[in-house]
Symmetry: C2
Subunit: 303 residues, 2 copies
């Protein structure tokens, strides 16, 4: 199986079907993506504030990678084998956005070392690692900025996308045009002040499958313990409705349950969680965790 590396210079600010692939891989290949932090490397010290950087160059993703043989209607499965943070972790307050914009208006920047995998916030405060890929996706039919979430993935900030996770994504364009960036060393559910602990990284993935003949409406994430069903919308209520509805359908089909049993089982055992909700006028991403322990027969599979 092939081994590829995509350097950090090969990054883009859009998922765009007109983007030329910067590399290509077959199913089974391993690819290392060198990613640059969501500030595109423009913030290096705590004196660098978001109002002094070029905000048209943020949330870069490395790629796109062409997956040979992928055509619209396929489902791409990619497994995260390793994430290695590079350099410091950076968090910032951006004036005018985030639920705490009046409590702490910003601009303001924190730069924190990552030591033994943990983000060191201060002498007294060390944050447990939640190393994850914030932005990951295939390219939709129309161009979208890498800062937005959608059914192609994109800027989901779903913390399940860590080492060992497999993400399933619909394919919309020939070659899938897969790209990623926006790694976090730590993040809270909701990411209420708009950033996590943002870092550059090297992310090693394996292209594990191209599935034919199955419909997938949006991102699906598998971890050791759970399935994560992801949906996004501008308004919280809409994101919840879509995510919960998809999760109920997933439960019903995989476990051959009636709608009634699926609706009840979801309510009593699955966590509907907030990936990203920074403000009422900011995109909302919801992920519903379906625990694998719910089925002793192992029927909770992607398809």
């Amino acid at each position: 199986m092939g081994m590829h590396r995509i350097g950090r210079d090969l990054r883009t600010y859009y998922f765009d079907p007109r983007n030329r692939p910067v590399a290509g891989a077959h199913v089974g290949d391993t690819v290392v993506f060198e990613t640059v932090d969501c500030f595109d490397g423009q913030i290096e010290t705590e004196r660098d504030l978001v109002d002094t950087i070029d905000m048209s160059h943020v949330n870069p993703t490395t790629g796109p990678l062409e997956v040979y043989g992928a055509v619209p209607g396929h489902v791409l499965a990619v497994k995260v084998l390793a994430i290695e943070a590079v350099g410091n972790a950076i968090a910032a307050l951006i004036p005018g956005v985030g639920v705490l914009k009046d409590f702490a208006p910003g601009p303001f920047t924190r730069v924190c070392p990552i030591i033994a995998g943990k983000t060191v916030f201060s002498a007294d405060t060390t944050i447990e690692s939640r190393l994850m890929v914030g932005t990951i996706g295939t390219t939709p039919e129309e161009r979208v900025p890498t800062g937005l979430p959608g059914d192609h993935g994109g800027n989901m900030d779903v913390p399940l996308v860590g080492v060992g996770a497999t993400i399933y994504l619909p394919v919309f364009t020939p070659g899938a045009l897969f790209q990623m960036g926006d790694v976090h060393s730590a993040m809270g559910d909701g990411e209420c002040s708009v950033t996590g602990m943002e870092c550059s990284a090297e992310v090693t993935v394996r292209i594990v499958d191209l599935v034919e003949g199955r419909f997938l409406p949006g991102p699906l994430v598998e971890t050791a313990d759970a399935w994560g069903i992801v949906a996004s919308a501008r308004v919280f209520d809409d994101a919840m409705r879509v995510a919960v509805r998809r999760a109920a359908g997933f439960l019903a089909r995989r476990l051959a349950l009636t709608p009634e049993d699926a609706a009840i089982l979801l309510s009593v055992s699955c966590n509907a969680r907030i990936a990203q909700w920074a403000d009422a006028n900011y995109d909302t991403v919801i992920y519903v965790e379906v625990p694998k322990h719910l089925d002793r027969k192992g029927r909770l599979r992607a398809f």
Copy 2:
């Protein structure tokens, strides 16, 4: 220290300052509350549907308990020492409510045995225990039904309120008039179809403290690992704003952080989670988890 028991016949459907206390306890006393499930015992088999029961008698709470010496402005601290489920667990679909009301309209009832602490949904599906007290609170100045959440606690459905948790609540009326009910053997974050796995129970608590001279805006829950800051509102956005703002203030005051550092630390390390969001026209309860590991000096205390 005294030991008291409040029987399941002594239940009420309102937090009401005119309610006469059914028992009294001093700080340090232990009290067993016999609670009845949220259907008030009216559903016993899967043939009993919610449209055949008296919906004015739901979500009963046992009490109120007078806490001797409690006056408005105090903060009541109660520790959950034990929760023992009694009988089966029951979940139901209620027509017209819940995000899945079109997917699975109901009415529909499931009755599941609780075996070795786990709720047995079917031969293939056993749900891990999340034994918790759904409704717990002091009595506000004005009467409210026990089905609603608020700054007095009430029907919060916050899964952190399990064995070992301590809940802090503002005192609004003389004697605090504390009551509880609505135990769940299992529940998913969001409780998207309106019920968890509902059961009757015996809940043993200790009245651990009456704190004077401190302001608490709403419920605060301490577990072994985290603090949970709770807020509720009709609309999701409002509940999030209040919960996140309270959590940021908690972090700032306890850890002597600037607002900027508190806003960032919350965003990168604290999970804003959904206790209850069944529908857009249903009350929303949010809890923000502040992990205790954030402070190696042990300064994350209630006050």
